[in-house]
């Protein structure tokens, strides 16, 4: 039986109070989480102390996962309800697992995209231990805020132009972006098809599979390896400044500092060419993340996304990362990108057949 009082204890708070509330919440809602593979009795919230490196900083090391069937955004019908009741949670899990295993195949070009089922997904079978109805915690409705009107208009115009082009001329395909788009040139394909990135990397959001991260920590650097596609974030905690404004990187420039036992990471200097949940973002994107070890096998991860020329307000989320079984393995994507060759040759063949011999820009 789940203890209803646990849910109340995981309500918002700050600092140490939130820490111990989260730990209490973790342990009473999902006691198994406290010690997968561990020996001995689970320590109570009062007795456990975060292990530390020789320099006194909290030890965040290990192999962590954010796989979950908790939705990224709250289902509309739940309104402002931030947490599941135990009964609702059971029903929700059952329906998500069933939905993930349905035969969604269609007779059109989306057939392959829809053909994935539970055999392929690695979302796990559990909600986040915090029992939230969404990963997004702010705005209070658990959904990312609206786009700034100018940005909305820009994106709509882009989509209209692409749709027109693809309706009138050959050479388009639905690829990993899930949308119809030009497919004759790597530069116009999505980041996943190009093997540049599968997820967002910053922030750490769950995707279909390989939701695995490894944290290795020295005295002045926290390194986070994202398994898919082997991106490493090297986060100094020695007070190093950010790169100059004009220097841009796909996954930005991350600098960290300790606030008590919480690692706070600020990332900026993005190129703004991202995808997935951050597809709308531009070069003004800033992400703030907070990492707090709250239990032997739980690393509380909180993030805030802020892009004032894109979203009408910053938005935030929370994921208690849990220890993953096993090791990370090499995810070499670009080295074997046959998909790219096939997509390009099909698009170009279509264009040739239609007499379209000019290389499109």
């Amino acid at each position: 039986m789940l203890d209803r009082s646990c849910r109340k204890r995981t309500a918002a708070g700050t600092g140490a109070a939130k820490l111990s509330a989260m730990v209490a919440g973790m342990l009473c809602i999902a006691p198994a989480l406290a010690q997968p593979g561990g020996d001995g009795p689970a320590p109570s919230a009062d007795e456990w102390e975060v292990p530390r490196l020789p320099n006194g900083r909290p030890d965040l090391q290990g192999i962590w996962t954010n796989k979950t069937i908790t939705p990224f955004e709250r289902p509309q019908e739940l309104g402002d309800q931030a947490f599941f009741t135990p009964e609702e949670a059971e029903q929700f899990v059952a329906s998500m697992l069933e939905r993930g295993n349905q035969d969604n195949r269609t007779d059109d070009v989306r057939d392959v995209l829809n053909a994935y089922n539970a055999f392929w997904w690695d979302r796990g079978t559990e909600l986040l231990a915090n029992m939230r109805t969404s990963i997004v915690t702010d705005p209070p409705n658990g959904r990312i805020p609206p786009l700034v009107p100018e940005r909305q208009a820009e994106l709509e115009a882009e989509r209209r132009a692409i749709t027109e082009r693809c309706e009138q001329q050959p050479g388009c395909a639905i690829t990993n972006s899930g949308e119809m788009g030009p497919a004759w040139d790597p530069k116009v394909l999505d980041l996943m098809t190009r093997c540049i990135s599968f997820g967002t990397v910053v922030p750490m959001l769950p995707t279909a599979y390989n939701n695995n991260y490894q944290i290795v920590q020295s005295a002045d650097t926290v390194a986070i390896l994202t398994e898919m596609v082997h991106q490493v974030r090297r986060i100094p905690t020695d007070g190093s400044p950010h790169l100059p404004e004009h220097v841009r990187q796909w996954f930005g420039d991350s600098k960290g500092r300790w606030e008590g036992d919480t690692l706070v990471v600020e990332t900026r200097n993005f190129t703004g060419e991202l995808h997935g949940r951050l597809r709308a973002a531009d070069e003004n994107l800033r992400v703030i993340e907070r990492f707090t070890r709250v239990a032997p096998d739980v690393l509380l991860y909180e993030f805030t996304v802020d892009d004032p020329t894109v979203w009408t307000q910053p938005w935030s989320g929370e994921i208690p990362l849990t220890r993953a079984d096993g090791l990370l393995y090499e995810y070499a994507c670009h080295e074997g990108n046959r998909g790219m060759e096939n997509i390009l040759s099909a698009a170009r063949a279509e264009m040739r057949a239609a007499g379209d011999t000019e290389k499109q820009e």
Binding site: G40, E49, V216, R234, S345
Partner: protein, 258 residues
């Protein structure tokens, strides 16, 4: 209960609470040298492991810009001991270096080449894991200090298992696929490649690096390369993002569907 017994009980209770899985961290800084930091080779090993004179680059229009610089070599005993039947492949690779070198394609470079590319890499020495994060192609290696067993499958950057011998970090690297070269001059290997690396801090800012290479399909005996790696001590030193995929898409996929 006596005071002694109380203290004993308290100490044992504390260690039970900490738990063996996560409480008993060995103090790496205290026991072993800390190799953490940003390192880079300062030689022409990535051009040619063996000694070589200067030579023209790929395009005369680029003049001296991409000419091949000279270097005294990093192979202990001078020459790489190819099996006679394996040498023609190296010559063929060398002739095709401006198209066939996997570095050109932004492929992960493998071990030991990643350590002597002309770009920095960062060592993050953790408690039971050491991560080597390379600027080129965001290549990365995890060195397991607790032996995780054999390589599960061939990979580009191999499977690294490390141990300390005194103050030297010894890393055993197996499980590399046969797709990488040792340098831009076509020196190559098979999937039987076995590399044993040795990292020793000679001074706080010089990390002496040795790699012994064994591959019975290609070489008549094991051979060793040796070079210093230098710490980047610049105030603003950092390994930046060098994702070369966008720079190679034209050359890789230009022919697709033509």
């Amino acid at each position: 209960m006596t005071k002694q017994a109380l203290l004993t009980a308290a100490c044992c209770a504390a260690s039970m609470i900490a738990g063996p899985a996560f409480g008993q961290h060995t103090a790496t800084a205290a026991d072993q040298p800390d190799l953490s930091g940003i390192w880079q080779a300062m030689n022409t090993a990535n051009w040619d492991l063996e000694a070589h004179a200067a030579a023209p680059g790929p395009m005369s229009e680029l003049g001296a810009l991409l000419a091949i610089p000279p270097g005294p070599g990093v192979v202990v005993d001078g020459a790489i001991p190819y099996l006679p039947e394996a040498l023609p492949q190296r010559e063929e690779n060398r002739e095709n270096r401006w198209t066939a070198d996997p570095e050109l394609k932004c492929y992960m470079p493998g071990v030991p080449r990643a350590n002597y590319m002309p770009y920095p890499f960062q060592i993050i020495q953790g408690t039971d894991t050491i991560m080597l994060s390379y600027q080129f192609a965001d290549a990365v290696r995890i060195i397991h200090m607790n032996d995780p067993g054999p390589a599960p499958a061939p990979s580009w950057m191999g499977w690294s298992v490390g141990r300390w011998e005194g103050d030297t970090l010894v890393v055993d690297v197996t499980g590399q696929n046969d797709q990488t070269w040792f340098d831009r001059s076509g020196n190559y290997h098979s999937e039987e490649l076995h590399v044993v690396e040795r990292y020793t801090l000679e001074t706080p800012n010089i990390l002496m690096y040795e790699a012994t290479i064994t591959d019975p399909n290609v070489f008549s005996r094991p051979w060793t390369i040796r070079m210093p790696l230098y710490r980047d001590v610049a105030e603003n030193a950092q390994v930046m993002e060098f994702n070369c995929i966008p720079f190679v898409e034209d050359v890789l996929y230009g022919d697709s569907g033509k």
